[in-house]
Symmetry: D4
Subunit: 162 residues, 8 copies
């Protein structure tokens, strides 16, 4: 049973949202993935969100662009933590999606990450799950250490190149 | 039975949305008014929108601020024309609400008016209803003529003052 | 006799505005289409708008970019509902056209849709006409159902792909 | 006969536009002042603009806020130079008016000054008229010299104060 | 031992951040509260973040304005979930803080809530903790139900008032 | 002797500013063209501006990008009308240049046209010169008529194509 | 002889720029202070900047609002480091001044600090001078330590209050 | 021993930051160059900044994109002058990095240059070092003179071309 669900407003969003799937798999987590639209399939979204906890989901990642209501509408139907990924690709370069996600009214939060920042959405889900999963917590520390090591290696390579 | 419904996300929105009520009443239209939140009372919003047409509603006006999902979520549950009023009052001065309303995905339009422009929302509802209500159409012409006359009178008074 | 008129500020706008023509034709509505500029052919625009109702037009869709005065100027000369499509393509990516359209003064509303959102302009016109055309109302319901089905099919295909 | 006409979209704009009247009067120019709205009194605006040159007007100053179509619509009906003053006071703080004025399509320019910058609109009108009015040109030089002297005096007073 | 830590960049931020303290207390959670600045006391921030997990902290809420580096710098030193509250109050009305928080580079997420949205930061922390605290989960459901009831009551009162 | 001077901050600006040269030549006006930078050659700019009137120049067009001080600095050294063309091409898409040009302090106006709108700058210069040049005024009317005719022809061709 | 000069575009800017004077005085530096405008007194600005180095000035701080050309124009006439303080107070809340200052063309840098951030301008000047003034460098370290201590004290007081 | 250090958040930033290296080398200054991330390698950044002065560094240039905390975090650990280069390349085109850099809290300044303006960062470092290096000061004057000559030559070539 999946612990993380990833929902996106359109299948064209997969190009970005695949980064969230990828990073979760790196941590041994197989997310449940679906396409659902707050505006085109509102009943499916509501039903998905209401059943998520009973289906074993602990964290929901929702990516959407433009008037990006998806994560907020999901959050309206569940008390699980919902992570929102505002997607660019519109004329407003994702500021529309960012504002439509992050500016939730008091009472219903959406944990918003950066524009197109699906990798960070995945890592935030891991951080939440790691609170009660010591192995995951350790892996997250390793991930950070490897990331730091990569930066260090880049720095060394850069100095050689110059 | 009301032909126009006005929904607002919070009762504090009444200060602005009252302008829509007022202008509709000037045209002899008594709107049905309610408070409902796409995020705090999502089921009520869905139910309201699904039943609106059967309840005789022809046009829905929805005012909301911040991540203003209300008109879009209503539009997701009805094929009636939905007019959105983005409300200011947040740190982003209503650009958040404007973007969250107007940038709807293809398939589900929201007829968006200006920030806090509840008067225009009311007039747009009148214009839609007037398509099949000759009396209303005539009143709308009169309203325009009076408005023009007021501008003209202002101009004359200004010239006297200077 | 056409029930919907589509006006655009320049023939280069056709690339976007064709989506409005297309969606209207899907619903069996043949719009009257013309190029007219609020700034370059102001008299033609005024004459068009003043005569629109007498010519059987019920809804006007106007697309324009930059200092996009076209829908507002049309609305100034008619009480018919006017739908504005702000077009991108300028250095300001359509925020200029959006602000120039949606921020109408009290008294003369423009029903503004998203930047380049000509499909939604067409659907909004259909929604308005459907208020008094039961067949159109039914088609609009079908359109929505098919759209939802396509989202669902995308979701299934996505799950197979992953 | 007035050489400069000042038009504003609403009499509430006088608070700002009075600065243009004042600076013109300092130069001995009595402007013709009126209220007219591109959206509420479009025919009056068109007629005013078409007749302006015949009425002896050489420069037109137009101030408007929000979807500030006024100077552009005036410019559409005359080849006289039109100076636009975008007014703040809306939720968008005048960026709406600025974009709606300055981003005119190729063919119909509006000489736009800063937000609420009615003084500069008046001075720009003076600069245009001064091209063929040697006395005015001299007064403009004096005005500049006095302005520079005031800055210098402020600087001296500041140094004394510190 | 506190499960949630709240850090703010300046004591003047308490006016907003108090909402997070308040909502946590409503859920029976006593947060650890401190003032620390990523720029003025960087070592204190690093030490706090490095020790947070060992000190029993499970979720960190960080509020800051302007070049709001605080939540990101904390996140750099811990793998615990970090919730960022961008604060307004600068000339840029909080867009500076929002961008400085939400646009984290891949690898180090910050769960960003709306501008000044400290209540939602508190509720997001509760939602995370509730994943492993059935009582908290139940209280969160109750909170939601009461919130919905309040909206409903507002709606009824509004209808009586009109 | 040239009546119009065109100055640009860099020779790479010619791609845009050539439109101003072109439109002036259409009207039989040969502008004086030069490259000068408010920041890199400030003395040349000051000298140019101070001598412009004596050299027979009546209108100055200045195009610049980024922190586009050029038209304002020219205006500081002459009382001739100065037309500013904000150029895009920076990361801020010309909003930097627009703000740096249009927001002049009271006392020194710059007649700002749209971003990259060099054609309109040329036409505005023509409109100013036409105030005292009946032939030019007539040509400007013809230009407008031809422009309107082109729009009309586009409209007809569009209708044939559809 | 003053080592730091502070220039401001208008004496009304003193309210903000006084913070730079104050912080410099805390470090025992008496700045030379004057009012000069890139647009109203361009020759004075040029002369000031050209003579600054010979007058013993090592760092120049320039504060200006709107189309804030002052620091850039000063930098055009000297190779001394120029620190720019964009001032708010216009309709654009200082974004105009920020863009007009920071977006300098390649070749002539302005060291820009935050909107209204005159304190930081003063501290940056101190940091530059401290490179060759060991006493100043030590004082700057003390300043930092006291600042950190104040933050720590605020934190303690906050914890007592709660 | 290097007098200038250049730090960048990612090796992909080298494309822009190489301009700073290049301009420094033109002036005979070999900068120390490294990759370090305020978020991915915070300890390395802190250590680098704390040791910079002892390592002979006099000026630090830091380039970063998005939530660009790097220059601010460096500035938090040293009293040396820190020059920040906000990098574009994100969905927000560098406004995120600009705001995250320039809007530092009172007490810790970052000398911010334009978006991607690494050349100016290098020149600003030269200007600071030139305060105590007469040869460098002379070279900077020559650089300016050559730059002015290039502009003049462009102007002449342009006039020949037209």
């Amino acid at each position: 049973m999946a612990r993380v669900a990833i929902v996106m407003g359109s299948d064209s969003d997969l190009a970005v949202m695949a980064k969230a799937i990828g990073v979760l798999k790196e941590f041994g987590i197989s997310p449940e993935v679906s396409v659902a639209s707050a505006h085109r399939t509102p009943d499916k979204v509501a039903q998905f969100a209401r059943n998520a906890a009973d289906n074993g989901i602990q964290v929901i990642i929702a990516g959407a662009g433009m008037a990006a209501a998806l994560p907020g509408v999901i959050a309206a139907h569940t008390t699980l933590p919902v992570i929102g990924v505002p997607l660019s690709g519109s004329a407003l370069h994702g500021t529309d999606a960012l504002y439509a996600m992050v500016q939730m009214p008091p009472g219903i939060p959406v944990a918003t990450v950066g524009i197109d920042a699906a990798t960070n959405a995945g890592l935030l889900a891991v951080a939440v799950l790691a609170l009660n999963d010591a192995e995951l917590a350790e892996r997250l520390c390793d991930y950070r250490a490897q990331m730091a090591a990569r930066v260090e290696k880049c720095s060394e390579e850069l100095q050689e190149r110059l």
